[in-house]
Amino acid sequence: MTQDCQPRNGRDGSPLGLARRGFSGCIKSIEVAATVHGITAVELERRLLELGFLEGAAIEVVHEGPVGRDPIAVRLNGTIIALRRREAMAVFVT
């Protein structure tokens, strides 16, 4: 039931926080910039992991919020997760 994907070689990941609806790809890495969040970087990384974000997982942006296209909803192994673009900046996808 899990869908894995191979990150395409030779390409750096781009932040999920910039992806538009319809984007479909693969999680390359989860790296939290320390300063921009209300919670610590490690805590945000843990929370993302706890929701099922993991390197190598297939991901798809399925919905965008009505104001400023924020938050977004992504499909992650059959589960739909909503998160703000600000937090999604920590997830790099290809």
Partner: protein, 627 residues
């Protein structure tokens, strides 16, 4: 807690991720036999119930707050951790952890099971909603799953009669097996590395034991295409909110009127049956109207929670939060705060109770803090009385009624001040200054189950009557006491309230209220007016010695118009936007936050706002010649 504990009974704890169907399973296993209270010293709700295994063992089942891990990121999740680890003094260590997982959404749940295994307590993994997984053509090899995880696994359908039989049967076996081999806990808060490793292991087990659904759920996607549409989605949300507001505001009205006139009749009957005197007044105005003022809120609370539980079960609540997040977030409010705040337009009491839909403690407290600023229906009698007495009934700009415009202004002032207070609280009040992230699962849509909804609504109603009700009732009796003691001397011609503690206190605070233009009549009326905002109208009638009480509203208006200046009237209107003139609301805040401190903060900031705003209004009005 000792109340639900029985000697020799087993203690089981339900653990699971949010949306795992944990509450439905809890309802199915315990039926109506549940108790809701708070854990000692915290605001976290403790849900416990009783059940019996086929072998005849009695079990105390406790439903722990949903969590993705035992790290304890919020007070709710800390409770889950402490109970699971057996570290909470008030709770016996669980003999069995019933880990609930949604069979259609196992990936994250399996990671939680891997973490729970480290605790060393017996675990039984319950694959709930197995019927939906089968309908989708998902092959789950239960035996393989159990072998790979090293944990017994059982399937269940919480919402179907008989769907938990196998689960009940296995309980006996698992507890007996485990009793012989106790294991020490090796749990420690998982690092990011631990989480990655556990999730990889869970994914490996998924590949071995769980097949891909042959007929994946496409309904949720299709419904979401409409409900999460940037335009249609918002319109549907607004329509839903409008219906809900109508229901709480208007549909509850006839029932509330029925209840309050019922209690009025009961009061009059008691009045007629008892000899003139203190006991008569106590029974009629203290006890009967005190109980009445609690019960009168029930229709609103029932209707509101019916809506909330329906939307929650259907899976819409998370979507509404998704749609509202940016809109509410600008003022520092959580996306889920809109339902409590909207309900507060009808009455802050169901609104504050509805803040339970907000998981994060800080977001919840901010919402509780600003909810009483929403213009509740009890302010309307006060507003209409003063507006009709002082604001001329004429048109401005050709087509807008001036009276209606003032009313609109009062509503707008309430909303704007709520947004302002929440903004200030978020930027200056919360010391950590961290805005909690918005990250949540949007669960697959499900048809709500009436039985589960009915249990939920019933539990809320009982909780309100038992917990908030007792506090509201005692405050009503206190207010009656203040307004009735000491008794007037024989042959006094002034109204009885003139001799009471309320009047003494009112005259005492009058110098404080003089700068905002309030005379002693107003100061005195404000004290019984604490019973409920609309009571102030009748109280003004009493202090101005108008016979006929509530029916004499028009006469009161004329009396006020001849006694007050326009500046005083405007100051009183502004006072009522902000002032904490409702003992019941304060009582509910105390009950919901579990602390006098939050009640005091709400009282204090609202009083300060009311005083400052009324002071400015009065002085500006006087300066403009309305004094």
């Amino acid at each position: 807690m000792s109340t639900a504990t029985e000697i020799g009974a087993w203690h089981f704890a339900l653990v699971g991720t949010p949306n795992s169907g944990k509450t439905a399973l809890f309802n199915a296993l315990t039926g109506g036999r549940q108790k809701v209270a708070n854990y000692p010293g915290v605001t976290v709700e403790r849900k416990a119930g009783l059940l019996q295994t086929p072998a005849g063992h009695r079990v105390n089942l406790i439903d722990l707050p949903g969590t993705y891990s035992l790290r304890g990121r919020s007070p709710d999740e800390e409770i889950t951790r402490e109970v699971v680890l057996g570290r909470l003094a008030s709770e016996p260590p669980p003999d069995l952890l019933l880990c609930v997982a949604d069979a259609t959404n196992l990936r994250v749940a399996l990671r939680l099971v891997i973490e729970l295994k480290k605790v060393g307590r017996p675990i039984l993994l319950v694959l709930n909603m197995i019927d939906i997984a089968r309908r989708r053509g998902t092959d789950i090899d239960v035996e393989k799953l159990s072998n790979e995880l090293g944990v017994p696994v059982v399937t269940s359908v919480a919402v179907r009669r008989g769907g938990t039989e196998e689960l009940l049967r296995r309980m006996d076996e698992v507890v007996e097996d485990a009793a012989s081999a106790p294991v020490e806990s090796t749990w420690s808060p998982p690092s990011t590395g631990d989480l990655r490793a556990a999730q990889r292991e869970a994914d490996r087990i998924m590949r071995v034991a769980v097949g891909a659904p042959k007929r994946p759920d496409t309904l949720t996607g299709r419904v979401d295409a409409v409900l999460l549409h940037p335009v249609a989605g918002l319109l549907i949300l607004l329509l839903l909110l409008f219906i809900m507001f109508q229901a709480v505001f208007a549909w509850a009205r006839p029932l509330m009127d029925l209840i309050s006139s019922g209690f009025d009749i009961l009061g009059v009957m008691a009045h007629d049956a008892l000899p003139e005197g203190l006991l008569q007044s106590f029974i009629q105005n203290g006890v009967i109207s005190g109980v009445g003022s609690v019960v009168v809120f029930l229709p609103q609370i029932l209707i509101l929670f019916l809506f909330i539980l329906l939307l929650e079960d259907f899976g819409y609540m998370a979507r509404a939060a998704f749609l509202m997040d940016r809109i509410m977030g600008g003022a520092g409010l959580h996306g889920r705060a809109f339902i409590p705040l909207l309900s507060s337009f009808a009455c802050a009491i169901p609104g504050i109770m509805a803040t339970r839909v907000i998981d994060n403690r800080r977001d919840r407290l901010t919402t509780i803090l600003v909810a009483p600023l929403m213009t509740c229906s009890a302010r309307i009698p006060v507003y209409t009385l003063i507006i009709s007495a002082f604001i001329p009934d004429r048109q401005v700009w050709g087509w807008v009624g001036l009276q209606g415009l003032v009313m609109f202004g009062l509503y707008a002032a309430g909303i704007l001040s709520a947004l302002g207070v929440s903004f200030v609280a978020n930027h200056f009040f919360w010391r950590d200054n961290a805005i909690p992230p918005f990250m949540l699962e949007l669960p697959a849509y499900k048809v709500p189950r009436l039985r589960s909804i009915a249990i939920g609504v019933y539990t809320r109603a009982m909780m309100f009557l038992k917990r908030a009700g007792t506090t509201i009732f005692s405050m009503m009796v206190l207010i009656w006491f203040l307004a009735s003691f000491p008794r007037p001397p024989a042959g006094a011609s002034e109204p009885a309230i003139d001799f009471s503690l309320a009047a003494i206190f009112g005259r005492w605070i009058e110098p404080l209220l003089a700068p905002v233009g309030f005379n002693w009549h107003i100061s005195v009326a404000l004290i019984p007016g604490m019973a409920a905002r609309e009571v102030a109208v009748a109280a003004l009638g009493t202090v101005y010695a108008i016979e006929g009480g509530k029916e004499a509203a028009e006469q009161i208006g004329q009396t006020l118009a001849s006694n007050w200046s326009l500046a005083t009237a405007l100051a009183l209107l502004v006072w009522y936007i902000f002032a904490p003139q409702c003992a019941s609301t304060l009582a509910v805040i105390k009950r919901e936050t579990g602390s006098w401190w939050w009640m005091a903060i709400t009282f204090g900031y609202m009083l300060a706002l009311a005083y400052i705003a009324a002071l400015i209004t009065y002085n500006v009005a006087v300066a403009l010649g309305a004094g």
